[in-house]
Amino acid sequence: MSKNNTEVSPLKQKILILYSGGSALDSEIVAWSFFDATENKKMVTGDSDEPPYESVFDAMKDGWRVIQISPIQSFQPGTEYSTGYLKFEHVLEKITPTDG
């Protein structure tokens, strides 16, 4: 509700996290997660085998705004040949008006 009592549609966020195989934004997607506050649905692992986009750049062309890009990090001595979490994480958002 605004100051002059007119109805305002609340804005809610959709977050798409895309993990790419390389640091370039046009490299292939290897993993993804979707958190949609407009539908209040819980994330379900394993619900799709096909990435929603081929690359982060493709998602940008579809209107997703990039709000975080993984930095390219130097290796700590001794960890050059070890692997851990998915390396290139990109967080994207869409802001959507909702009914409340």
Partner: protein, 272 residues
């Protein structure tokens, strides 16, 4: 074994007879809260000596699998009967079991036993082949939803999946009307895991192809994963000279000989 090193799991379809699988299902249903953890560290030979759960893991074929991976006389770590109610639509988050395991050579195995037919509608467990080298803290990977190459375990009753302890996995929703069980058992080695399996074909050129097969989700880290596989294969076969595609030989090349300008030859530096 090369496939296990690359993928982090082996599958054995319908390896347990149906009658025995049915008995296990009934036992799990009847006694879902039976004790676990309490005997951690005991020789596995002393566990379930008079119980149908022991019967499945003492079948000669299954004992052969266990011995090939962790050797004779493994230790019991723990077990857990995973029960997923019919109509449970929530999935478990991705995780790797236990805390951060920094071992790079020795490994435990986890035996995932499916006592009933497990179609995709029922789940079962989702695993990520090739994830076992990743050093992660248990459920810190829970932000991930889908990963290219993820493998839902869909199998017939009596199937057994044997994984490296560190493989990423998560239970899937059970959209069927049937109760689903999966019994997981973790075993620790008590011997060095060197040449424990039938190594007659150790020189088969196919081993190289199996070890080097790419996992579709590793991106630019794919070659690092290949190096990690070569290192584990060296340990398992007790062959520190094993290499594939020259990856390790190249970066381990630190010559100890000096070039002598006057003699136009090389000599070994004995002082180094």
């Amino acid at each position: 074994m090369a496939s296990f090193v690359n993928e982090g799991y082996l599958r054995f379809d319908k390896i347990i007879p149906k009658k025995l699988s049915d008995k296990v299902f009934k036992e799990l249903k009847k006694n879902p809260n039976h004790k676990w953890w309490l005997t951690s560290g005991k020789p596995f030979s002393e566990i379930w000596t008079n119980n149908v759960l022991g019967d499945i893991f003492r079948l000669p074929k299954v004992e052969g699998i266990i011995q090939s991976l962790v050797g004779p006389n493994p230790r019991y770590d723990h077990h857990f009967p995973h029960r997923v109610e019919p109509g449970k639509l929530e999935a478990q988050n991705w995780h790797a079991d236990s805390i951060i395991d920094t071992r790079t050579k020795h490994f435990d195995i986890q035996l995932f036993f499916f006592p009933q037919d497990t179609p995709r509608q029922m789940g079962g467990t989702l695993i990520l082949p090739g994830s076992h080298f990743r050093k992660v803290q248990e459920s810190e990977i829970s932000r991930y939803q889908n990963i290219v190459g993820q493998l839902p375990i869909v199998c017939k009753a009596g199937s057994l999946f044997v994984t490296h302890h560190n493989i990423w996995h998560c239970a899937q929703p059970n959209r069927s009307r049937k109760l689903r069980f999966m019994l997981k058992l973790r075993l620790n080695p008590t011997v060095r895991q060197i040449n424990l399996w039938n190594t007659d074909d150790l020189n088969d050129p196919e081993i190289d192809q199996i070890l080097m097969k790419s996992q579709p989700w590793t991106g630019v880290e794919g070659r690092i994963e290949q190096v990690l596989r070569i290192k584990l294969w060296r340990f398992l076969t007790d062959n520190q000279h094993f290499d594939s595609r020259y990856w390790l030989t190249r970066i381990e090349n630190e010559p100890t000989t000096f070039f002598d300008n006057q003699q136009s030859g090389v000599y070994e530096n004995k002082g180094v």
